[in-house]
């Protein structure tokens, strides 16, 4: 098999079902290091399904097609192994883990994911720097993971994790939703920092994030497939015209 240098994610003619219902119907996509791809599409188009299935969510069944990460097939890797291999998903709806403090959680997560994890003071230094970047107060560390967090706080915690875990592939599922204007700018900075040296897939409904994080490619998704791929101008067009016009040509 010939692999283009720096290919991070390759999805080939993917078909995915949930409880017997097909959701993704023949989707292909390749992302290289340093590239930012955006996926836009209506509610229910299958965007989160794609992100979840790449990360290895057990509820989704791949009925045909393949997913490769750095040229290796993913099918035999469990979710945590994908994370350790350098994949990261920022959740649309991050789960709460009551009783588990953010600080402890981050430390353990970094220790299990990174090859040469910072320890002790080095970790604390890195953590403090990352939190400052995201304008997060220290008090976050003693709260329980996503428990009682506001929508925007959850998203910030996701990006904090991304900064600390330093993934090679970042899947960002509606990371912009629920963020106020200042937070959006802050989070966008965080994404740009990671995206410079990794592959990035941004799922979003709005142009406002793409003004701040410039995508190289924009994909329009309808009913489980990518119906059109273009540059940043496609996002503007979608924002302007919606998705109906694509359906006709699809």
């Amino acid at each position: 098999m010939r692999i283009v240098a720096d290919e991070i994610l390759r999805v080939e003619n993917l078909h995915v079902s949930v409880e017997g219902t097909p959701i993704i119907k023949g989707l292909s996509l390749t992302i290289h290091r340093g590239e930012i791809h955006a996926i836009m599409g209506r509610n229910g188009a299958g965007k989160s399904t794609l992100a979840n299935v790449v990360m290895g969510h057990p509820a989704y069944e791949i009925t045909s097609g393949n997913i490769f990460f750095k040229g290796e097939p993913l099918e035999d890797l469990e979710v945590f192994q994908r994370a350790r291999a350098g994949m990261f998903l920022s959740f649309q709806y991050p789960a709460a883990i009551p009783g588990v403090q953010v600080g402890t959680f981050l430390k353990k997560s970094v220790a299990s994911v990174r090859d040469d994890p910072p320890k002790g003071r080095a970790f604390r230094k890195e953590l403090t720097a990352a939190m400052e970047k995201l304008s997060m107060d220290k008090s976050f560390l003693s709260r329980y993971v996503n428990d009682g967090f506001s929508g925007g706080e959850k998203k910030r915690l996701e990006i904090l994790q991304m900064l600390l875990l330093q993934p090679h592939l970042a899947l960002l599922d509606e990371t912009d939703s629920g963020l106020d204007i200042d937070a959006l700018r802050i989070v966008a900075q965080g994404i740009n920092e990671v995206a410079a040296d990794s592959a990035c897939l941004i799922i979003t409904h709005y142009q406002r994030l793409l003004d701040l994080v410039k995508p190289h490619y924009v994909h329009a998704m309808i009913d489980g497939t990518i119906v059109r791929t273009g540059g940043p101008e496609l996002a503007l067009e979608l924002e302007d015209r919606g998705y109906d016009w694509l359906e006709v040509t699809a």
Binding site: V79, F88, A95, P98, G99, S109, S112, Y144
Partner: protein, 468 residues
């Protein structure tokens, strides 16, 4: 260690045992003579012998509890239990004088180390009696009495006589009768008026022999305006035959006093743990039971508080973990016997690998007690289809001036939580460990740090190797 032993022990870290060296060992089985022999051996005053004999007669007549887990209870073979075993002739004040085997055991359990770092006093009981005992000099100088119960009876017979059995009469239940008949060891703790003991004092109970019965008896009296934190730890080796642990713990908090009693029990799965714990709280006193139940075959334990004086407060925080072949029947009882008394009960249980946990609670407000407040929260977490959790709450409310809340929830680990954690690099077992530790966190945070760390490790260990 032989393979067979390893199989029985499994992941239970404290399952090792020492050779059974004893200086005095009674034959298995129970009779009035055994009861009299124990008393005679200990050179007790006649009144204590009389209490024991009376209790024994009650035990014989008393029927088994008809709740909890009857089939397991009825499997207890009282004739196959060793009721008294002395493994060291003296209670030592220095670890250097404790026999090597026993000292090594307590070293492995980390007791001398903990003592140096953060405890105000330690009693280490091995089988039937204390083998080591010490208290910090400054506490002794303030008049704090911390002794094993046998020595307490010898040195302060008048205090023991005044309070022994006043909170839990021998006739309370079959196992309090048994304990009263054959008790040995336990702690005797008295805090004088106004003295605040800042560092926790600890008693550690270790069963070593096979088919051993351990019947410690603890009496804690906090005089007016005093406060103390007492910590109890227990472990036993893993054997294929059963051991019996049946303690009685009586607490008395005088006006304005505060007693916190924390337990981290981590029995091997061959231990019947049938314990009666009850406290009396006088005017404006506070009693807190912080009760962690890990392991054992069957635990039946319901720490209770009698709120006797106006303004008294009770706090019961308990967790139970029921693994394979284990039944944790635990809970709390609070009796509001005076006006403006308040209580909080938080009970958390986890059932896994076919384990069963039951919450059994009683909340009582007497008709004359006005303006009482109570909140009861029971949360159960069930980790798989084979496991079980039940709740049996009872409320007896004698008037309508009280403010009472009761919440109960049963939950499972959600696949969203697991997926989230696994996407952050945690294996399924590690993810379960985190969720379980998080679930117990409201309990763990009440423990001294060293215990909290240990408990978290323990639970993580429980999550290992069992997910398929």
């Amino acid at each position: 260690m032989s393979d067979e032993t390893q199989e029985i022990i499994g992941d239970y870290k404290y399952g090792f045992h020492d050779p059974e060296n004893s200086t005095i060992r009674f034959d298995k089985g129970l009779s009035e003579q055994v009861v009299r022999d124990i008393s005679e051996l200990k050179n007790e005053p006649q009144w204590m012998t009389d209490i024991r004999v009376k209790a024994y007669r009650h035990f014989v007549e008393r029927v088994m509890p008809e709740w909890g887990n009857c089939s397991l209870l009825n499997m207890i073979d009282f004739e196959n239990v060793t009721y008294f075993l002395r493994s060291s002739n003296k209670t030592e004040k220095s670890w250097d004088d404790v026999p090597d085997d026993i000292k090594n055991t307590f070293n492995r359990l980390g007791i001398p180390e903990a003592e140096q770092k953060w405890l105000g006093g330690v009693t280490a009981q091995y089988e039937s009696e204390a083998v080591y005992h010490s208290i910090r000099e400054d506490l002794e100088e303030q008049g704090v009495i911390f002794l094993d119960m046998d020595t307490g009876l010898k040195q302060y017979p008048e205090i023991v006589k005044k309070y022994f059995g006043t909170v839990i009469p021998h006739s309370d239940n079959k196992f309090s009768a048994l304990n009263t008949a054959v008790w040995s060891g336990g702690s005797f703790l008295y805090i004088p008026k106004g003295v605040h003991v800042e560092m926790p004092v600890q008693a550690y109970f270790r069963i070593n022999a096979k088919n051993m019965g351990q019947f410690e008896r603890t009496l804690i009296i906090a005089d007016e305006g005093s406060s103390v934190h007492y910590v109890e730890g227990c472990t036993a080796p893993s054997y294929s035959t059963d051991s019996l642990h049946s303690a009685v713990v009586e607490l008395i908090a005088m006006d304005g006093a505060k007693i916190r009693y924390s337990t981290v029990q981590n029995w091997s799965s061959n231990v019947y743990n049938l314990v009666t714990k009850r406290a009396v709280a006088h005017r404006n006193a506070t009693v807190e039971w912080v009760d962690g139940n890990i392991g054992s075959k069957l635990t039946m334990k319901y720490p209770s508080v009698l709120l006797k004086g106006e303004g008294a407060h009770a706090e019961v925080i308990s967790v139970a973990y029921a693994g394979k072949g284990q039944h944790q029947d635990t809970g709390a009882k609070v009796h509001h016997l005076a006006s403006n008394t308040t209580s909080n009960i938080l009970s958390k249980s986890i059932s896994k690998d076919g384990g069963r946990s039951s919450y059994r609670g009683l909340l009582q407000v007497s008709p004359k007690s006005i303006g009482c407040r109570s909140k009861v929260v029971c949360d159960a977490l069930i980790l798989d289809e084979d496991s079980r959790s039940d709740t049996y709450p009872t409320m007896e409310i004698g008037n309508s001036t009280s403010d009472l809340e009761h919440e109960a929830s049963v939950s499972k680990v959600s696949s969203d939580q697991l997926f989230y954690l696994m996407s952050r690099g945690f294996s399924e077992e590690e993810a379960m460990g985190l969720i379980v530790n998080g679930f117990f966190e409201p309990f763990t945070r009440e423990l001294p740090m060293e215990y909290a760390v240990e408990l978290n490790k323990l639970l993580e260990l429980e999550m290992e190797g069992s997910i398929g």
